[in-house]
Amino acid sequence: MIEILTAILSGGVILATPILFSALGEIYDERAGVLNLGIEAIMSLTGFVALWIGFSTGSHLTGTLAAILAGGLVALIHSFACVTIGVNQLISGLLILTLADGIANFAYRSLTVVPTIEPLRPINIPGLTQIPVLGPILFQHNLFVYLAFLLAIVFGFVLYKTTWGLRIRGVGENPGACDAAGIDVNRIRHLCVILSGVMAGFGGASLTLGYIGLYGRGIAAGRGWIGIIVVILSRWSPYRAILGSLIFGLGYSIASNLIGIGVAVPYYFLMMLPYIIALVVVSFMFKRTRGPSALTVPYRRR
């Protein structure tokens, strides 16, 4: 029993990682006033890129770098459409969704080999891993997991304690005032949108290089959407996003562990668990949630 519980909790931390990565990028993005609904497909695409490049070069690092580059490039299309031109952000994001998914599946089906890679090995932290119970749950993971949680703290610090963070928040709340104060509103927005793609790239890489080691159609399997739900659940705070992504990570982990031990519930019902959690969360947490004031409103000087 303890073993299963440890497996579930430890799996929850691993499965929270891609969600946390994408949520962090989306927090900055939305704080600056741009919504990116394409995250889900950007994660699938970058997951593929990471796997493919990692497989061909034999290096997890090169794969990850390629993934964040690909994520940034796709996000650049979104930021060009929404920030430079002012296309409706929801529609643009949903088009990015089909675009990125299409590119990923097209590239995957054009390959003559099936890329596979051995997922990144867990790294033990001397001293911490030896702690009973907690050690294996928190400190026996691969680099992606540590990076995600570390970045959450860095992102929180930058957002709340630095001039950069202040500017990002300002641009999302009152772009007019920021412009008057001499801040280049659209430049910050561009950077934040690209950052959301880069972070989704980390998310995709952590999924294929850190966990699955394979690609399949729609590999993100809703994690991108759940990342955006985590953003709202955590009320646009990188710190609270840690907790939010852990809730969903646990959902995924419970489902896959129960499938693993062969519970007498149909497989597909267990697979639904994270989405049912999402629906409940959305229903009860969204009421009266106040987002950045200028979210989805393009900025143009009058």
Partner: protein, 364 residues
């Protein structure tokens, strides 16, 4: 400012400014220019991609056109594909007009297909004149039922509908996968699919030797009906008013929750019908993965058609040509069909970008 207003403030007017004011001819002409220009931009990008892959762009266009219209059969397949595309486009469009963003057409059409199958499979021996309307009604109700939770959340708790509808898509897909691999699977079939439904429930065939069924007529008629409802009735006026300015509409005496309910009923129902035509029109059974994302594609088609129901007819036709032609290319040249989905996204994005760019330029 709460989540449903502040978080997703996306006015339909940001990409199609109409309201009740008819724009001057010159302005409208300029806006229509975005189609040829956007098409050219997309063609340019796409030729570059094809050339990079070592394919001849002109030959590829020929293949796509021949593949979608070259023979009676391919032309009929093109019209078969238009049907679910057009219906899911209308589903998104009517919601969009009222600022109700139903991203869940994919899930609703899965449930619509399921209810259509469940009812049709019980109709053995009944005359078509009775069974088909019953199946259509059931699929409409099925689609609506899948939108009920997001709709209730929106009206009662002011929860933005985008995320509930998306989450419901995933749940619907799992339900269909579960049923098609287990409880209602045809034990003799290899694929995850059900038994064939009774012949009396099949939509009438229009050209023998093809799969072209009467669903296309239903879809086009519904497009005109949606046009009439939106632009010629009080309900449509209210829907558009709510979409353009919810607060002003409320002060003008329009009940927001009532117009949301009407929009939700129409939107979910139309999506349900999109699933129905695939079951009782195209396949005559329910098969897992019958939809390559019709619900999501409807969003792009709606945008391409200028968020107008009649524009949606042409836009869905274009998407269908690309898809059926693309499937021919997949069989012939071995180019994966996913390339077509990439093209579709590039095409719509180009048109939207050019359109927006022209609008902004004029305002300056």
């Amino acid at each position: 400012m709460n989540a449903s207003e502040g978080c997703m403030r996306s006015s339909p007017s940001s990409n199609s400014e109409e309201g009740n004011r008819r724009a001057p001819i010159r302005e409208r002409l300029e806006r229509y220019m975005s189609y040829p220009v956007g098409l050219l931009v997309a063609l340019f990008i796409f030729s570059a991609i094809l050339l990079a892959m070592g394919l001849n762009p002109i030959l590829s266009i020929e293949t796509v056109l021949y593949g979608s219209f070259g023979t009676t059969f391919s032309a009929s397949e093109t019209f078969v594909r238009v049907t679910p595309l057009l219906l899911s486009t209308l589903a998104f469009l009517i919601g969009f007009k009222a600022r109700f963003l139903n991203i869940g057409a994919e899930g609703q059409l899965h449930i619509g297909a399921l209810t259509a199958y469940l009812v049709a499979s019980q109709m053995e021996g009944l005359p078509s004149g009775l069974s088909i309307p019953l199946v259509i009604f059931a699929s409409f109700a099925g689609g609506v039922s899948w939108l009920a939770i997001p709709l209730l959340l929106r009206i009662r708790l002011e929860v933005n509908e985008v995320f509930p509808t998306v989450v419901m898509n995933f749940i619907a897909r799992f339900i269909i996968s579960w049923l098609c691999t287990g409880p209602i699977k045809d034990p003799n079939a290899l694929n995850p699919q059900t038994r064939v439904i009774p012949e009396g429930t099949w939509l009438p065939l229009m050209v023998s030797g093809t799969r072209l069924h009467a669903g296309i007529i239903l879809a086009v008629l519904l497009a005109f009906l949606v046009y009439l409802v939106l632009y010629k009735t009080v309900l449509g006026y209210e829907i558009r008013a709510v979409g353009l300015n919810p607060r002003a509409s409320k002060h003008g005496g329009i009940s927001l929750s009532q117009s949301m309910i009407s929009v939700g009923l129409l939107s979910g129902g139309l999506a349900g019908l999109a699933g129905m035509v695939e079951v009782i029109g195209a396949h005559h059974l329910l098969i897992e993965g019958f939809s390559p994302g019709f619900g999501y594609q409807g969003i792009g088609i709606a945008a391409l058609g200028g968020f107008h129901p009649l524009g949606a007819i042409f836009a869905s036709m274009l998407f269908s040509i690309l898809q059926i032609g693309g499937e021919t290319m997949q069989r012939g040249a071995g180019v994966p069909i996913d390339l077509v989905y990439v093209l579709q996204a590039i095409l719509v994005l180009s048109v939207l970008i050019v359109e927006r760019w022209i609008t902004v330029k004029r305002q300056k």
